[in-house]
């Protein structure tokens, strides 16, 4: 699920998109799928499954820009975020994006922490 500025941009909100913040449903199978997807577009090696399962934020540089995998956020908030999320069509691909209010809330929380 896309959260953060990329989700806001897809939802037509004005946001400067520097990278893509992604959240996945917790679970080993999903980590495996995430790593498989990133392997096709990453510049350099994809971080290990252990890093994804134990890490908080795992950044991955890809040929399409930086992807921050918000693992801790997924572990804590997946169910709540999923409830407000919906699929949006990007070219011919349905992409799950967080609701605008959830994306704004997360963005504010992260930006405020970064500015502290």
């Amino acid at each position: 699920m896309l959260v953060g500025s990329a989700a806001l941009w897809l939802r037509g909100q004005i946001a400067c998109v520097a990278d893509a913040d992604a959240v996945i449903e917790p679970g080993e199978r999903n980590i495996h799928r995430l790593r498989g997807g990133l392997a096709g577009i990453a510049i350099g090696p994809v971080p290990s499954a252990d890093r994804f399962s134990g890490g908080s934020v795992v950044p991955v540089a890809t040929a399409y820009g930086k992807v921050d995998c918000l693992m801790e956020r997924g572990r804590r908030d997946w169910s709540r975020l999923r409830r407000g999320a919906g699929f949006l069509l990007v070219a011919d691909v349905p992409v799950l994006a967080a609701s605008s209010s959830d994306a704004w809330n997360l963005r504010r929380r992260f930006k405020e922490r970064a500015n502290e």
């Binding site: 400067c16 096709g40 510049i43 040929a63 399409y64 930086k66 070219a91 011919d92 691909v93 500015n115």
Partner: protein, 312 residues
């Protein structure tokens, strides 16, 4: 940070160690730094490499000789195999540090984004002009000073855009840095030059190449493939230390693809366009005024002239 130049303790120790007329082997300079401030050579060498690379900061304080790495992914050679000495600007900085001349606004000019900091660099002569104006005309307005300094300036020559008003006001913001992308005169190639400083030219070339190969999901998602795939027949990374130190990648479009179309697509590719978070410790006009007031009574105009003559 030194109040007279804004340089850090390690930078000053390095300049002092390299204050020789001839090139000095870096391991000897680093041993001297370790003796003075106790910093291990491996750490001090990272700072020295930044000082010696000609593309990192507008006021180059150290001249390197040997392999200090490239704008791509080539690392510098071990410090046993490189040499360095201070530049004329480096000597001016040391003179200012020792109070042999008035302070110099080196930190304002060089910033610290080359070490992943937030302060961006500015055009040296623009800062000199703004400082002179603040000395000569204390009533100069904030807008005038901001206008004189202009936007951040990166030596690679990339285009800079973003909320410059926020930056000048001392607020954290994000710059968009873009390489120059042009269609060659014979319209056979699209040339990428002046690649942003916060990306490796090798990585940019790899990204472009990977975007030109068919993804494994291309057949499942032809629409996405169409908008993300680069119609590229050939790519050459012509970045070199001598002829194109700031990056040069030459792309040949596939037959039938207008070069202008490829150019438009390349402008959106990561590495050709990057972002950089930036912030100044206080509003830009305040930064200049504060610096002038803090050093009032010293011969700032003379020291500015000396530094101005010391940089190309």
């Amino acid at each position: 940070m030194s109040e007279r130049t804004g340089l850090g303790v390690v930078e000053i120790a390095l300049l002092e160690a390299l204050e020789t007329s001839r090139f000095l082997r870096c391991d000897k300079a680093l041993a001297s730094v370790e003796e003075r401030i106790g910093l291990a050579p491996g750490y001090a060498y990272e700072v020295l490499v930044d000082l010696a690379r000609p593309w990192t900061m507008p006021v180059n304080l150290v001249q390197g000789q040997g392999n200090f790495g490239s704008r791509g992914n080539d690392p510098p050679a071990n410090f046993r195999y490189t040499e360095a000495r201070v530049t004329r600007a480096g000597r001016a900085a040391l003179a200012a540090e020792r109070a042999e001349m008035a302070p110099l606004p080196i930190a304002i000019i060089n910033g610290n984004t080359y070490r992943a900091g937030l302060r961006p660099p500015f055009r040296p002569h623009a800062v000199f002009d703004a400082v002179r104006e603040a000395i000569r005309r204390p009533g100069v307005t904030d807008a005038e000073l901001t206008g004189m300094v202009g936007p951040p300036y990166f030596l690679t020559g990339c285009a800079v855009a973003g909320d410059l008003t926020a930056l000048a006001a001392g607020r954290r913001t994000e710059l968009s840095l873009q390489a120059q992308v042009s269609v060659s005169d014979d319209r056979r190639t699209v040339v990428i030059e002046n690649i942003p400083p916060n990306v490796s030219t090798d990585d940019t070339a790899s990204i472009i190449a990977s975007r030109a190969t068919a993804s494994r999901w291309a057949s499942d998602h032809p629409g996405l493939h169409r908008v993300t795939h680069l119609p590229l027949a050939d790519l050459r990374n012509e970045t070199s230390d001598r002829s194109s130190p700031f990056g040069r990648i030459v792309c040949t479009p596939t037959p039938g693809t207008p070069p202008e179309q490829l150019r438009e697509m390349l402008l959106e590719v990561t590495g050709v366009r990057t972002t950089m978070p930036v912030a100044l410790p206080r509003p830009l006009p305040d930064l200049i005024r504060h610096w002038v007031q803090a050093n009032a009574g010293e011969g700032l105009l003379d020291s500015l002239a000396a530094l101005e003559h010391a940089i190309p």
